[in-house]
């Protein structure tokens, strides 16, 4: 891994988060001090900080940022300490890597999202590097941006890549395969059999165990029961807190700040199973609990309760989450929050590895479109969450790269209507690149949808005048 300042996405993030680390919590927290903090922070960070540290979520936002900075800086210094940096996709349980002393996980989608949210010029320049190689322009920007930064040889390079997308997403698997060949980085796999019979699940455990032994050999360290137990126990704590927040979501108006949807999976994909992860979840629970007690809600009233069935949009410096909340549109979570964690039995090595396999099996995307049917498991989950949290609409971001979801979205739409009578808004726009669809268009579509379709009864509309006798020549 290349050290020092370079124009690469990861290295720029490291640079910024060193600064964040230096700003003491109280300074970040104190409302007045925020602005001050913004001034001392590089301007790139300012707009994102506005969203991440918005009053309604600040208590947790600070902890979340600190967690990410720890994660990033740790990975950066890992190389110096002779540790292995392992690049994983979002649908891989990072806690497994955390359980090794001599390895740290980095998640490409999280890096891309942070880069897009925080860095000046966002991801475009790294995307263009990938396009410059002749790669298709309908690839997954969530991966292509961070990997593009590596492909341009501007950025750090991981010691190995784990691909857990085979079976869940071709694009993701393919771009990781490309990077591993192009940069000559060893690649490991955890493939998902699209098989709902018990057979598929058993086979998945086999794959998981093979992967673990491959990793042990590569990292040069045996996975120890104690280290693993330590991580899993923290993961279990995160699981409890995850479901606390889940239950808060049921209250109306929604006491959980919209942006927590992002914080929740941001934590799942990075520091799940680490003390910092637990702290972030605790902070979120605290904020939600207080807001519930005060019956507080940022807008006058909650007009719509929206479930996002896949990803949200991140290219507008996280502004959309709070914009929705200001309009009275509650964001009850993304498809990426649908990883339904479970308490893992820590009694034996074997039970813990089984538990890990189970969590991986239930990771977002893997669990839904990675199922035997791309639409069935996905529909079941969305219907379940919509019913549980009594949502009154579902929104699909329509990232043009997500071919698996796009190919069955019409089935999801029909099933939502048939089973719950819920409307689905199908948006179209790249979640990480602003040049596909401007955020103003996205906002307008959401507005039109909610005012016309979702909140038709509550929003005051002009009445169409009574029909006069229609002239026959008109008929």
């Amino acid at each position: 891994m290349k050290l020092g300042m370079s124009p690469g996405l990861f290295d720029r993030l490291v640079h910024l988060f060193r600064v964040v680390n230096r700003v003491p919590d109280p300074v970040l927290k104190k409302l007045g001090a925020i602005l001050m903090a913004l001034n001392v922070l590089p301007s790139d960070l300012a707009s994102a900080a506005g969203a991440l540290l918005a009053p309604q979520s600040r208590e947790a936002g600070v902890v979340f940022l600190k967690m990410l900075s720890k994660w990033i800086v740790e990975a950066h210094s890992a190389a110096r300490e002779g540790k292995k940096v392992i690049l994983v996709p979002f649908n891989f349980p990072p806690e497994l890597i955390h359980a090794f002393d001599k390895a740290v996980p980095l998640t490409s989608e999280v890096l891309t999202t942070m880069g897009v949210a925080i860095l000046k010029g966002q991801g475009e320049r790294y995307w263009d590097i990938a396009m410059g190689l002749g790669l298709p322009d309908h690839l997954c920007s969530a991966n292509t941006i961070e990997l593009g930064s590596m492909l341009g040889r501007e950025d750090f390079q991981p010691d190995a890549i784990i691909s857990s997308a085979p079976g869940g997403c071709d694009v993701n698997s393919k771009i990781h395969e490309f990077a591993s060949h192009y940069l000559d980085i060893p690649q490991f796999f955890l493939q998902k059999p699209p098989d709902d019979s018990g057979r598929g699940r058993e086979q998945y455990s086999v794959y998981m165990r093979t992967l673990i032994s491959q990793l042990e050999e590569f990292i040069g360290e045996k996975l120890t029961e104690d280290k693993l137990r330590g991580v899993i126990e923290k993961a279990n704590r995160c699981t409890e807190l995850y479901f606390d927040i889940w239950d808060f979501h049921k209250a109306a108006p929604n006491p959980v700040p919209n942006i927590f949807a992002l914080f929740m999976y941001g934590t799942r994909f990075s520091m799940w199973g680490r003390e910092e992860g637990v702290k972030t979840f605790e902070a979120m629970v605290k904020v939600a609990k207080e807001r519930l007690a005060q019956k507080a809600y940022p807008a006058e009233k909650e007009l719509a309760r929206c479930v996002w069935c896949y990803t949200s949009y991140y290219y507008d410096f996280m502004g959309l989450f709070n914009w929705m909340e200001d309009q009275g549109y509650s964001h009850l979570g993304d498809g990426l929050d649908l990883y339904f964690p479970q308490i893992i039995d820590t009694s034996t090595m074997d039970s813990m590895i089984e538990g890990l396999a189970e969590s991986a099996w239930n990771m977002p995307m893997t669990r839904q479109v990675g199922g035997e049917s791309m639409s069935r498991s996905w529909t079941e989950d969305v219907v379940f969450v919509a019913r549980e949290l009594n949502a009154d609409c579902v929104i699909y971001c329509g990232h043009h790269s997500c071919k698996q979801t796009w190919s069955v979205i019409s089935i999801l739409r029909k099933e939502l209507m048939n089973q719950l009578g819920l409307p689905l808004l199908i948006l179209q726009g790249d979640s990480w690149i602003k040049k596909m669809t401007p955020i103003s268009v996205i906002q307008q579509e959401i507005d039109e949808f909610i005012k016309n379709v979702v909140a038709r009864k509550t929003t005051k509309k002009r009445e169409l005048r009574k029909r006069k006798k229609i002239k026959s020549d008109l008929q």
């Binding site: 396009m131 410059g132 596909m436």
Partner: protein
Amino acid sequence: MFFAGIDIGSLTAQAVVIKNGKIIGAKTISVLPHPVDSAKEVIDRLLSKQEIKWEDIKCAVSTGYGREKIQQEGLTRENISEISCHGLGAYTINPNIRTVIDIGGQDAKVIKVNQSGKLDNFVMNDKCAAGTGHFLEVMSKTLGVSLDELGPMSRKSRKPVEMSNRCTIYVETEVIHFLQQGVSKIDIAAGINRAMAERVVALARRVEPEKEIMMTGGVAKNVAVKSEIEKTLKVKMVKSKIDPQIMGAYGAALFAQKQEGAK
């Protein structure tokens, strides 16, 4: 001995007549719906200003979108792709040229030629592309300025607008919206040219462009786009001695001359 090259593009048609390598006449018109009509028209308009008649042309080669039809009509002996023609044309004008950027109405191309002027490699836009002459044409219409003004005017721009769309179709309404908000045409034009340059650069990156670069095609006349590309690619474009827009037809004429020499 006279040789002719005819380049029927999607927006404009050019004809060039050469005598041992030297251009003795050239003409550009905007295309008629049918390529053969365009070809006949441009030839007539060209020859009307010369003492030579079509019969005096020893051999002619056609290129551009209409190249095949023209040949089938017997107007030319052969048809050669615009990529080869622009390559040879640029190389003949300056043998140091190794990379040619040609932005036509429908296709943007980056062409590499070797030390003997032969086609080495090339890339063309097949992605979501604002990088075509058509894009600029539509935009200048929307802005209500002529295509030639688009470049010069943007030099006065202080803060070019940022286009929030990749797609030509959507950029068009974006421009209308900017105008409605009273943004100055100068800044919009600058934004358009920048967007254009960005797309071309992204394409050029696919074949490592070498230092000696020449830009051909109508867009080469757009100073703003040209300098934007120079800035981002960190190169200095070699200036063409002839009108860059007739490069394709010139190259075709050179091929016609080769043909004759060949037999």
